[in-house]
């Protein structure tokens, strides 16, 4: 109990600090007072422009994307009772990516600014409908996983097909770069587009806590204790699709956050899925904000992609966790 509250407070502080740092770090060397002053004052000028149009949306998106990935990862792991589950498992990420890739390939993305994120959201929505249709009316986890894998594979294959048949090497490069995931050059328009979907998704996911706790004892026990599994699954799928779909739409594919963070923070809440949800959201926000600061500091001129870094840090870290688990579980 106390460990959990302490973790919540410390992680909130960490997220606040990282958010501030994200606002302050960038190629334009701006002082603390100058930056915050420009952000809060209504007046124009180059400093205010940098802060309000470049750094604020970037920091906000880092916060939101990270929180959404951590939260949906924790919810997905709780629902499937599998520590290796991640938000992309229901096929939303790859389908959103396919939507974005199609808009890049057809040139729609170049015609107006929101074409790409909107196409990605459409892809995510289509994936949800297909997954729910294929997984059937009952609330079982296995059918959901299999439907999600099938949709993911199909969306991945279609993305490859688009790349394969693309006559334009520049379009291919643009697609490949986009798929690596990044928060660079996003505007407040992106924030306003993603925010409602993310809030809706987080609301749905946060409502699953009690059901996820009950699922700790298996599906039959949970249902006999009064949990409507079909409703729970709908909350999970719609929540993940809405939140993660919006995240992929504005930031591309940022991997490993939804997988690593719940796993890392689970011991702090005594394994309880409902307590893990808010903590994983904070942890995810901290991880993405930190990674996005790191890509700016490590190689400011190279345009290092956020998703590349989270995977580069996340994968070895995950290996380390597994290495430690080996001794315990054997």
């Amino acid at each position: 109990m106390t460990l959990r509250i302490t973790a919540l407070v410390l992680l909130s502080l960490l997220v606040a600090l990282l958010f501030l740092a994200s606002l302050l770090i960038g190629p334009a060397a701006l002082g603390l007072k100058q930056s915050i002053g420009a952000l809060l004052s209504g007046e124009g000028g180059p400093v205010a422009l940098v802060m309000q149009e470049i750094r604020l949306p970037r920091a906000l998106l880092g916060l939101l994307v990270g929180a959404v990935l951590g939260l949906s990862g924790a919810a997905m792991q709780g629902f499937l009772r599998n520590p290796l589950a991640e938000p992309g498992l229901v096929g939303v990420s790859s389908s959103a990516a396919l939507g974005a890739v199609l808009s890049l390939q057809t040139g729609l993305a170049a015609s107006f600014a929101l074409a790409l994120p909107l196409s990605a959201l459409a892809g995510a929505a289509l994936a949800v409908l297909l997954v729910l249709f294929m997984a059937g009316p009952h609330g079982g986890a296995l059918a959901l996983i299999l439907a999600g894998i099938a949709i993911s594979a199909l969306a991945g294959a279609l993305t490859s097909l688009v790349l394969n048949l693309s006559p334009n090497p520049f379009a291919v490069m643009e697609i490949v770069y986009w798929m690596m995931g990044s928060l660079a050059d996003r505007s407040m328009t992106h924030v306003w587009l993603a925010l409602p979907f993310m809030i809706l998704g987080c609301g749905l996911l946060l409502a699953t806590g009690r059901g996820l706790d009950a699922l700790t004892l298996g599906e039959d026990a949970a249902r006999s204790m009064g949990v409507d599994l079909a409703r729970l699954r709908l909350l999970i799928v719609l929540g993940t699709a809405s939140a993660v779909g919006a995240s992929v739409a504005v930031a591309g594919a940022v991997g490993f956050v939804g997988l690593v963070m719940p796993h890392l923070l689970r011991p702090l809440v005594g394994g309880r899925p409902s307590h893990l949800l808010p903590l994983a959201a904070l942890g995810g926000a901290a991880m993405v904000l930190a990674a996005d600061i790191a890509v700016r500091l490590i190689a400011p001129d190279q345009d290092l992609k956020l998703g590349v870094l989270t995977a580069l840090v996340g994968a070895p870290f995950f290996l380390h966790l597994l290495w430690r688990m080996r001794g315990v579980e054997a």
Binding site: R81, R210, D213, A214, L215, T216, L217, G218, D220, A221, R223, S224, M225, G226, V227, D228, R266, P267, G270, G271, R272, P273
Partner: protein, 250 residues
């Protein structure tokens, strides 16, 4: 008072009936032992009675909304899943946490305490459930079902894999609960334990009820050896009837 009413309950898989036209009443104060060979349909019957499986015929529980059902009947599944390393207290609390608003009232806390005490788990509250032995985990899960304090309890092979002391203690808890006015349905393979602690035995074979009578009558009925394919030794002791399987007859 009748707590469980099954009328012509039937469940088919691939066209074949797994539970076949079962009509059964369980009243308050009864501890009904559900016995039968593997594959006789005991688990399926319980799950269908609880509305966890689609079925034909009717069950008074399956008709209730999920929340109300959980207040009428607790279910202890055969698989002893505890998926996350949660504390014993957290597991048993689940028996109360899903009712009403989800907030624990002092009465809920007392129900949890009673369940823990009854299963001899008072000193285990803060232990990690998944780190306990199989027998201890089984007791924790029974305590979770007890914490619901429902009029009816359906337990699917609760004593399988337990040591003799834990088997006796668990069956004694069920017998005590029945004496206190609850209804118990317990599927069990140990016919000796069933004879000792149940007030009534229901024999299931190929999804049908073959025998439904007090333990002494069921265990001395020649149809029992047809169903199980064994011959047994039945004797009366001061502690009640004992039954010992002796030889295979087919």
């Amino acid at each position: 008072m009748t707590l469980l009413e099954l009328d012509h309950l039937t469940l088919r898989r691939a066209g074949k009936p797994v539970v076949d036209d079962v009509t059964l009443r369980v009243a308050a104060g009864e501890c009904v032992g559900l016995i039968g060979p593997n594959g006789a349909g005991k688990t399926t019957l319980m799950r269908a009675a609880l509305g966890l499986l689609p079925h034909e015929g009717s069950s008074n529980l399956a008709r209730l909304p999920l929340g109300e059902r959980a207040r009428q009947a607790a279910f202890l599944p055969q698989s002893r899943d505890i998926h996350w390393p949660v504390t014993v207290d957290a597991v048993v609390t689940l028996g109360r946490a899903l009712q009403g608003s989800g907030k624990l009232h002092p009465e809920d806390r007392r129900a949890i305490d009673r369940a823990l005490m009854r299963m001899g788990l008072d000193g285990y509250r803060d232990r990690i459930a998944t780190a306990l032995s199989g027998g201890e985990q089984a007791r924790v899960l029974i305590a979770r079902a007890l914490a619901q304090e429902t009029p009816l309890l359906l337990a699917d092979e609760p004593v399988a894999g337990l040591d003799p002391e834990a088997q006796l203690r668990t069956m004694q808890v069920f017998a005590d609960l029945a004496r206190e006015g609850r209804g118990i349905v317990v599927s069990i393979h140990d016919l000796g334990l069933a004879a000792r602690f149940c007030t009534r035995l229901v024999v299931l074979d190929h999804g049908r009820i073959v025998l439904d009578a007090p333990p002494r009558a069921v265990l001395s009925d020649p149809r029992l050896s047809e169903v199980f394919g064994i011959r047994g030794f039945l004797a009366d002791t001061p502690d009640g009837p004992v039954f010992q399987p002796m030889a295979v007859t087919r």
